[in-house]
């Protein structure tokens, strides 16, 4: 049995009469890239919300590296090394790209009750931030205000910020949403590189990308896990094909 970094046990979340997470049990192994797929409304974003702490589950437990984090607030989970990128780009629009990443570095560089020194001149914040921008290929855009960057660049910046918090695990919520084929290809290449060193939980609609990247895939339908396994096993799973993949011919011969 491989070593699990993130353990989700019997997680249930209800919104009124709707069960958005229905007794989800799932282990994410250390070092794997685990993808979660499912039709719209399957409860993927609800699941991410509970993992990051923005939503409280009705029952069940979440363990990160052995520690029960079910009741921890959002910022504590980030400090433990659980970083996320947002489905809808969520950046500081009136700051530059470098400022954005430097804030992410600062979040994990001790407390911020430092009132006097110009934070934009602190090498211990700026240098790691530049390094993270380099990794996602935004070096030349460092001093541009985020409001003036393109959509694709926003997505890259999201990843750079997640990386800058020096996480042990990345939660990526549809990193390729709204991207053109060329940008998607670049993102896939980048994620392939990142999975060498990080555990990644990927939620994504782009099936081609998912099957190209994932070590294991979990299929969520109406808040329930209907299958979990290697890409080949998922492709061959009859229930999955019926529930979900049937509509997406591309996967059958992808």
């Amino acid at each position: 049995m491989p070593d699990a970094l993130l353990q989700i046990a019997d997680l249930t979340k209800r919104f009124g009469g709707v069960t958005a997470s229905d007794h989800i049990t799932l282990d994410i192994w250390r070092g794997e890239l685990h993808a979660i797929i499912g039709p719209n409304g399957a409860g993927k974003t609800t699941l991410i919300g509970q993992l990051t702490g923005e939503l409280a589950p009705n029952s069940g437990h979440i363990r990160f590296d052995g520690q029960d984090i079910t009741a921890l607030p959002v910022y504590r989970r980030s400090q433990l090394g659980l970083a996320r990128s947002f489905q809808i780009t969520s950046l500081f629009l009136d700051f530059t790209a470098l400022d954005n990443v430097a804030l992410a570095v600062q979040a994990h560089a001790g407390h911020s009750f430092r009132f006097w020194h110009d934070a934009r001149r602190e090498p211990e914040l700026r240098e790691p931030a530049r390094a993270a921008l380099d990794r996602v290929g935004l070096t030349r855009r460092a001093d541009v205000r985020v409001a003036n960057l393109s959509h694709g660049e926003h997505r890259q910046l999201e990843i750079a910020m997640a990386l800058a918090t020096r996480p042990r695990m990345l939660l990526l919520d549809e990193p390729m949403a709204g991207m053109g084929p060329e940008e998607s290809a670049r993102m896939v290449a980048m994620l392939r590189e990142l999975k060498q060193e990080l555990t990644i939980l990927l939620i994504e609609h782009d099936m081609e990308a998912v099957f190209a990247l994932a070590d294991r895939i979990t299929v969520l339908v109406y808040g329930r896990v209907i299958a979990s396994g290697t890409p080949d096993a998922i492709r061959a799973n009859a229930e999955v094909r019926e529930a979900y993949l049937g509509e997406q011919q591309v996967v059958a011969h992808g």
Partner: protein, 315 residues
């Protein structure tokens, strides 16, 4: 020197030179009223600068900021009435009490957002207003005359109008400088990040509440200082100091001058109070002119006067 070459740099420089030389001009022309007016402007500019810290940089519209003016002022007034006139006791106490009041207000109000935040800060200000009205021993509704200004053991004579003006001006410059350092520090970036996107800040690992609360308390302390100065300036404190319309005036100064800009609140205070002074000489209904003017600023110059001078950077 590069900053001076811009229109904005030049206006700020001219304004500062004007403020520095004002007592000389007032003495030469024998216009004592000018000095009194500008002392008031400088003091309220300190209050507006402190409001800018939470409103401009923190994105938190406090509609009860005049309460700290009142708290700071009443500490001076009450101590003076009880025979304690030493500024070395009065002023630190004014700052501490204002800060504690801000801590209580902030601890409750910062758990809410938007309209609710505005309402809670307003509610606290109204509460303290009525507390002051109820203080019979200290003049109640009529207010309390201060017979002796704060004493600084012969080091400073605040009863000298020129000395007092310069004390206020130096404190204003110090407050602007401190705020400038603050907003560019790690702390300041957290506060500004939370204005821009609080949810993202928390997911990055920042416990934003405690930073916002600290910022709220600092703003309260600085406004308490303005209150202590105002009490000394008018030799009088009354509940009117913290009436909600006064809080509104402070918001207008910040918006008019330019939110999230170092000198914006000062520019706004000068603009509003000079406008009030000149227009009210022309017509009793001077606010009819002020209103549309404000509307124009909000509609066409989101960065206020300072933003216009900087070339619509924020437009």
């Amino acid at each position: 020197m590069k900053a001076l070459a811009t229109p904005r740099g030049m206006v700020v420089a001219v304004l500062l030179i004007f403020l520095a030389l004002l007592p000389v001009y007032a003495a030469a022309s024998g216009n004592a009223f000018l000095l009194t007016l500008f002392t008031r402007i400088v003091i309220l500019a300190i209050a507006a600068t402190s409001l800018n810290l939470i409103m401009g940089y923190g994105g938190l519209v406090s509609f009860g900021h005049a309460a700290y003016l009142g708290v700071g002022g009443y500490v001076i007034g009450i101590l003076a009435k009880e025979g304690i006139t030493s500024g070395f006791v009065q002023w630190p106490l004014a700052l501490v009490v204002s800060g504690l009041f801000a801590l209580v207000v902030g601890a409750l109000s910062l758990r809410t957002r938007g309209v609710y935040f505005i309402m809670i800060t307003l509610a606290f200000a109204q509460m303290i207003y009525y507390v002051a009205v109820g203080l019979d021993r200290y003049g109640g509704d009529d207010g309390l005359t201060i017979y002796r200004r704060s004493q600084f053991a012969g080091l400073l004579n605040l009863s000298n109008k020129t000395v007092f003006y310069y004390v206020c001006l130096i404190l204003l410059m110090a407050v602007i400088y401190v705020c400038w350092r603050l907003v560019n520090s790690r702390f300041g970036l957290v506060v500004q990040g939370a204005r821009s996107n609080d949810r993202r800040m928390r997911s990055l690992g920042f416990p934003t509440f405690r930073y916002r609360l600290t910022c709220f308390v600092i703003a309260g302390v600085l406004c308490g200082l303005a209150g202590a100065l105002l009490a000394n300036h008018t030799d009088f404190v009354s509940p009117a100091m913290m009436h909600w319309t006064r809080s509104g005036d402070l918001i207008v100064m910040v918006v008019l001058g330019g939110m999230a800009s170092s000198f914006g609140p000062l520019i706004g205070a000068v603009a509003l109070l000079v406008l009030e002074e000149t227009l009210s000489g022309v017509t009793e209904y001077w606010q009819i002119i002020l209103g549309p003017l404000l509307l124009l600023v909000v509609l066409f110059a989101r960065g206020g006067i300072d933003g216009l001078l900087a070339g619509g950077r924020r437009a």
